[in-house]
Amino acid sequence: MSASPALKDEIKLPGMDLKKIGKDLYEVFIGPQHPGSGHMRIIIRVDGDVIVEADPDLGYVHRTMEKLAEGREFIKVIPLMERMAILDACNITLPYVEAVEKLMDIEPPPRAKYLRVLLCEINRIASHLYGMGIFGVFLGHSTMYMWPFGDREVFVELAEKLTGARLTHTYAVPGGVRRDIPQGFREMAEKAARYMEKKLEDYKRIFLDNPAIQKRLVDVGVISKNLAAKLGIVGPNLRASGIRYDVRIIEPYEAYDEIDFEVPIYEEGDAYARAWIRVMEIKQSLNIIRQVLEKMPQGDPLHEKFWAKAPKLYKTVYETTGRAKLIPLYANLKVPAGRAIARAEAGRGEVIYVVESENKTKPYRVRVVSPSFRNAIVFKYIVPGHRIADLPAIYGSIDYFPPEADR
């Protein structure tokens, strides 16, 4: 089956290491051109059907985002960074906006904070639904693939109503948000929340309570509390292992300290717990959306400092239609020199930004640590010992998103 010795000599490339693998082991490359891998590769070595070693191999969708950010104006970095996780656009760029605000020493108005939380939670639901859909198809459950993908549309449309864009909203900008809540949004959100609550019951019936699925997930890919802490796992995967760590609780940002919500925790740490935690988080997010719409204070969604420098027409348009155009000031926003760090809880976990400015219109350095990147290491440690068929189950349960990890 293996290549002839002559061929082996031929493929020696400079800088390419050939790794010897154990006798009787079979090396299988899952990805990057594999229906069950996504834009990454997991190199597994199997003994029969049991995986002995697993190497996650990242970087297939690396887009040099951090370097690209150094050549762009501060406002243009937001649409760039959104490409990391377009379903989670607000969550994934919010810390950047916060870091820039810290450098500029401005605080967004309270209404803007609530609006940001609103979109963050809509994004979180959409992101979880996407993850659950992929999870479903990895287990061969086509209904669980189609349902969340169809229901995600509800929240994508909700986001569109709020921001004008389906996916890459660029909603949070330094100093506030781009536009105010439109008319009829509350009713739409309430309807979406009621619909989603009903659908979550359906998911439970067809997927989570399905005996075939339970057999595949229970006690598969267990991340112990200890291992999770040691590897630095973040997000729902960490909380499914019984560790209570959520940036929204540990270090409340925006309006999260004024909102009453729970963070679901599961002790088991297996794939089944990770499936459940997303469902519970969606429930909490719906709760947050309802509270935000109730508690949201009146006022301007953008900081006065920006209005002061805006042309008069912009203010009139905003006051009559409720829609604000992006104020020209942003095009050449000069951020005072300094270094700021900010973090937020994105759909897949904690995302951290370090922004360094030199009092110019472009950042000197933008460093991102994305949640999927921190979760990727988990494959190396929990996949060995499982069967080949468990790999998609584990991969789906981790909700690993290659574009987010590779940046």
Binding site: L139, T143, I213, I388, D390
Partner: protein
């Protein structure tokens, strides 16, 4: 000239050829398979909040989409990789396709011996024996592919074969045991009244046979040998174009043949109808009744796709050896009891 036409007509109506090629053989199987795939897509779509393929022939509900797909497969390039064992790579799927339809020759579609391909008293055993021929060629095709995923898929197929065949044969034989005959005609005739269908008198054996059909033809939740997200396309990873279509087609034809046997053994065959003399009343109508019953059974198998995920290979084997073989044996015991009490005497 008339002699040739007579010869052709006689050849077509010659039972072995007619049964193997036209009804319920290859041609019927193809029509049923096209219907089943359409049904599978549409029911899954209905469950999953979609409409399914619709663009081609919207008036027929997208029924012709399958023909379009078939045409696409037919004109796609057939890539034969350099590293494969050419003869086996091409020969094995074709052999499997032919062999998957062969069990039909031993399945009588009527009780009039004139229309039997081969009149025999052991048709149950012969037909079940013939069904065990084709799977080995899938393993051979996987081995010849010289691909890691194909090899894993072939091994899975081999494991599943060893697991389901015993269940299939035990539960099939229990139908014969209850009637005390290995002749399918006797088995069907014993089930003439509706309440005497073996499905009702021996549901345990029927369940075991249904499960073994699911397992043997990669129906959910046993869609393991070609699990897409794990091993690409299993044994068929290296196949493309029409050769891939042949592989898929033989899997569906296999399922059709199994369900034909299932409807003969458990669903009363041509039951409410009694064949009358003449070709149409004596062969065509009972055969169509059996085919319709088999199609309904296939449709239930297709529907399971929308409900279940995929089990792991070890779980499926575990279920086969520890749950379904005891169930099949219990069905055999029940059949023995019924034979002793003379339910079908």
């Amino acid at each position: 000239m008339t002699g040739i036409i007579d010869f052709i007509i006689k050849l077509i109506i010659w039972p072995p050829l007619f049964q193997l090629v036209l009804l319920p053989g290859l041609v019927t199987a193809l029509v049923v398979v096209i219907f089943i795939i359409w049904f599978e897509r549409k029911t899954a779509a209905r469950v999953q909040m979609r409409i399914g393929p619709y663009h081609i022939s919207p008036r027929l509900g997208g029924f012709l989409q399958l023909i379009a797909d078939l045409t696409r497969y037919a004109f796609q390039e057939i890539i034969v990789p350099r590293t494969v064992d050419r003869a086996v790579f091409i020969g094995a799927p074709l052999t499997a396709l032919v062999l998957s339809v062969v069990p039909v020759v031993a399945m009588p579609m009527t009780d009039i011996p004139r229309y039997f391909p081969i009149p025999m008293d052991y048709s149950l055993i012969i037909s079940m024996g013939l069904t065990t021929l084709s799977p080995i060629f899938i393993v051979a095709a996987a081995w010849a592919s010289n691909n890691k995923f194909a090899l894993i898929g072939g091994m899975r197929e081999a494991f599943v074969i060893t697991a389901y065949e015993l269940i299939f044969i035990i539960s099939g034989l229990s139908a014969g045991l209850a009637v005390l005959s290995y002749n399918i005609v006797d088995i069907v005739e014993a089930q003439a009244p509706f309440y005497k269908w073996i499905l009702f008198t021996n549901p345990i054996a029927a369940l075991a046979m249904y499960a073994s059909i699911l397992m043997s033809t990669s129906g959910f939740p046993f869609e393991i040998p070609e699990a897409e997200n794990e091993i690409v396309a299993g044994a068929f990873t290296e196949y493309s174009g029409l050769m891939y279509g042949v592989n898929m087609g033989s899997a569906y034809i296999k399922r059709f043949v199994y369900t034909l046997l299932f409807s003969l053994l458990f669903l009363g065959g041509w039951a409410p109808y009694t064949p009358q003399p003449g070709f149409i009343a004596g062969y065509l109508i009972p055969a169509v009744i059996v085919v319709v019953k088999a199609t309904i059974v296939m449709a239930t198998i297709s529907f399971l796709r929308a409900v279940y995920g995929r089990l792991r290979i070890d779980q499926a084997l575990d279920g086969a050896w520890r749950i379904f073989i005891p169930i099949a044996l219990a069905g055999l015991l029940l059949a023995l009891l019924e034979a002793y009490m003379g339910v079908y005497a």
